[in-house]
Amino acid sequence: MNKNLIVKIREYAGILVFAACLMAQSALKAQEIDMLIKGGHVIDPKNNINSVMDVAIKDGKIYRVAANIPSTSAKRTVDAKGLYVSPGFIDMHVHVFAGAEEPGFTGFGITNGFGSVAPDDFTFRSGVTTVVDAGSAGWRDFHQFKKQTIDNSQTRVLAFISMAGHGMLGTVHAQDTTDMNPVTTAFIMKEYPDIIVGIKAHHYQGNDFGPVDRAIATGRLTNKPIMVDFGSSTPKLSIEELFMKHFRPGDIFTHTFSGNAASAVTPNGREPIVDGNNKVKPFIFEAQKQGRIFDTGHGGGAFVWSTAINALKQGFYPNTISTDLYRNSRNAGMKDMANVMSKFLNMGMSIQDVILRSTWNPANVIQHTELGHLSVGAEADVSVFNIREGKFGFMDARGSVFNGTKKLEAELTLRAGKVAWDLNGISGPQWDAVSR
């Protein structure tokens, strides 16, 4: 046999081995991505992404975000053409300590009661993957809340702890200043540093800043922000004083677009952020500039069109969009997170601004910067949504309607890489493509 030929065969064999290696490598690659969300318009404000890109997920984490990742490298590909892809929404104001306790005295039965809702009932179907409970549990009930709700939910549940030891058992408990203990509260917060993001002061009817100041004292002990449901005091207390003299930068005013109507918890009505001529009060802009956080907290009684529409027109945007989901808001004007976000879209806020205020902004406010973005290595909490075009109406807390043309609809929601919601089956095969 010709020596040259043998050499050539060896060379060819070498090439064959090399090719085989390449094939093996690509086979490895073929198994690399668990799920590829392909062709969607990615909005990831933290990473300044606002374009068509593919999102690859592996082992429950974001693996890659790039244009044209080949389907061959994924076990499963979801076609997201025409849809938006964003970080899973963070709803920063909810009440999810659902249970069976009788409401105490007057109140909504929020603490371990029927006034709260179960998180998974509302989250994934509106693109939400993280909720932050806004003070449903105080230090006395927080263990119970953890065992009963947080540990048993697919949704990531974080929480503001109530400044009142008994949380929101009854309105009367929010008046008991002897049960507002910064040291005890801080102690429980340090027990759950990954879950408790701050302190909530709420529904206090006294004519002083006592509960707010104690919450701030607790916040100083733990280096966490406070969130305040303000405006129950008789006579009214000034919100300017709240923002400028009591709040630290990073502290949160919720129910931003509340009207001044009286309710069970606001006997005199909250002081609105706009004046009698619907002009945003100058100190509001100043407060926001100085780092005070304005949260939407829509709720059953805290979102009024005239306040919101006029404020937005004058360039005042809330820092965060949230629902204040509980029994009295779920079937009323609020409905769910997607509905509240849609309201802002229809008031003229851009989709990028809406997503920012429902992902990366709340993540920053609650000091959980590992959330609210699609950076490589982040837990794959992903929201894939559709913006429906048509004629839609949106109601406020007074039961009046504002008409719009856009509505956000959650198509596919992933929590830690797992499909937690799939409205139209875009992640599944056709029924007759599978034998049984």
């Binding site: 001044n260 079937n331 004007g333 109406g393 406020d396 409205l423 089956g425 029924w431 049984r436």
Partner: protein
């Protein structure tokens, strides 16, 4: 002093006055009637397409509500007669939907499947937004814990909650409790239904039994004593029991087989529920038609594991229709293929069932099955539980429990839901005034 003439003239005068008085009275009466009528209707749903299968209505009609009752259903009821008129042209109006299979005994016992458990959902969180006004809990509670279910959930919910009592006294706590034949007490069950809660308890549930027919038979025995139907989840017998025997030998006409379209990978060791469609030939088993003819009720009970297109699509094609459409709403089904009642109803539309048939199976049929003929229709005088739907057109997908899908071009969306004459859901604010109305000040 009266003269005769004067008397006559007085008489005439008197008669004239009386006539005038009478005319005035009649006029006043008419006026009053008109005024009363003008105020008579509280809410008028105007211009919608009414589907009310019980009353054979399938046409454009207006629906008038006074207080909490249906006042009138007719074409062209003038808006001037109503305090409030809601324009629903382009939308469908039906009786409030009855979801005959749900789990809503919500509570805080994390170790329980359905009774007083987070696994049971809050009814109001899912009902109204899907057009549902009545849910029937399918055996989450037994006679021992029904009083807790009532005080904790039923009495606090806006949704009308009815219930099948579990044949087991403790209800659905664990799989093991469901096997306890010693806790299946027909006398207690019947007493609870007939004597104590006849307006809430509509039947008996047998579920998750691993053995022979004892659980079913105890349920039927209870049902005979209380004169109510039984509903059976036949899914965990090992080896599987014959559904033909269940339908033809154990069931009475009116008894209910739920999870009709499930398909389990059955083996002698694994057990499971025998399917109604033969898995090899994909033909509906002949005795299934015979059973339905005999009066056995086939309920959908979609759930997280009990709806397979390989069963439903061939069955519907071969002319087998379920008697009732229901969700089997609970924590594991809510975010999976089931989602909510409108999604399950839309799935049947996508499989080719007509809208009237879908509504019939979600209103008047379940009402009859649970022997509540006061529900599921829009007859004058009935409680004003009403669903107003938008039938969306577009490209939609519907999944089964295997997470495979079919495509559809229609989807029901609950626009407006009324429970006892009150608006409890309004998706797009069609019952609301414009936001620029004068501000409420205080």
């Amino acid at each position: 002093m009266r003269t005769k003439t004067a008397g006559i003239s007085e008489f005439i005068q008197h008669k004239f006055v009386r006539t005038v008085q009478r005319i005035a009275a009649v006029l006043a009466l008419i006026l009053i009637t008109v005024t009363v009528e003008a105020q008579e209707i509280d809410i008028l749903l105007k211009g919608g397409h009414v589907i009310d299968p019980k009353n054979s209505i399938n046409a454009k009609m207006d629906v008038a509500i006074v207080a909490d009752k249906i006042f009138r259903v007719a074409a062209n009821i003038p808006a001037s007669l109503s305090k409030k008129t809601i324009d629903i042209s382009g939308l469908y109006v039906t009786p409030g939907i009855i979801d005959m299979h749900a789990h809503v005994f919500h509570g805080a016992d994390v170790n329980s499947i359905s009774a007083n458990s987070p696994g049971g959902l809050q009814a109001d969180a899912f009902s109204f937004r899907a057009g549902v006004t009545t849910v029937v809990d399918a055996g989450s509670s037994g006679w021992r814990n029904f009083p807790l279910f009532k005080s904790q959930v039923i009495d606090r919910s806006q949704t009308r909650i009815l219930a099948f009592l579990n044949v087991v006294g403790g209800g659905m706590v664990t799989r093991y409790d469901q096997q306890d034949v010693t806790d299946m007490n027909p006398e207690m069950n019947a007493y609870m239904i007939k004597k104590l809660h006849p307006t809430i308890l509509v039947g008996i549930k047998s579920a998750h039994f691993w053995g022979d027919f004892r659980s079913v038979d105890k349920a039927v025995e209870s049902g005979k004593l209380a004169n109510v139907p039984v509903i059976v989840d036949f899914g965990e017998h090992s080896p599987p029991n014959s559904i033909e025997s269940l339908f033809m030998e154990h069931f009475r006409p009116g008894d209910i087989f739920t999870h009709t379209f499930s398909e389990h990978a059955i083996s002698e060791t694994a057990g499971g529920r025998e399917s109604i469609v033969d898995v090899k030939t994909r033909k509906v088993k002949p005795f299934v038609f015979a059973a339905q003819k005999r009066g056995i009720i086939f309920d959908v009970g979609h759930g997280a594991g009990a709806f397979n297109f390989n069963q439903a699509i061939p069955a519907l094609k071969q002319g087998f229709m379920p008697n009732t459409i229901s969700t089997d709403l609970y924590n594991l089904s809510m975010n999976a293929a089931m989602k909510d009642m409108t999604n399950v109803m839309s799935k049947f539309l996508a499989m080719g069932m007509g809208l009237q048939d879908v509504i019939l199976r979600s209103t008047w049929n379940p009402a009859q099955v649970i022997k509540r003929p006061d529900l599921g229709h829009l007859s004058v005088g009935s409680e004003a539980d009403i669903a107003v739907f938008n039938l969306k057109k577009g490209n939609f997908g519907y999944m089964d429990v295997r997470r495979t899908k079919i495509s559809g071009t229609e989807k029901l969306e609950a626009e407006l839901t009324l429970r006892a004459g009150r608006v409890v859901w309004d998706l797009n604010g069609i019952s609301a005034p414009d936001w620029q109305m004068p501000a409420i000040t205080n």
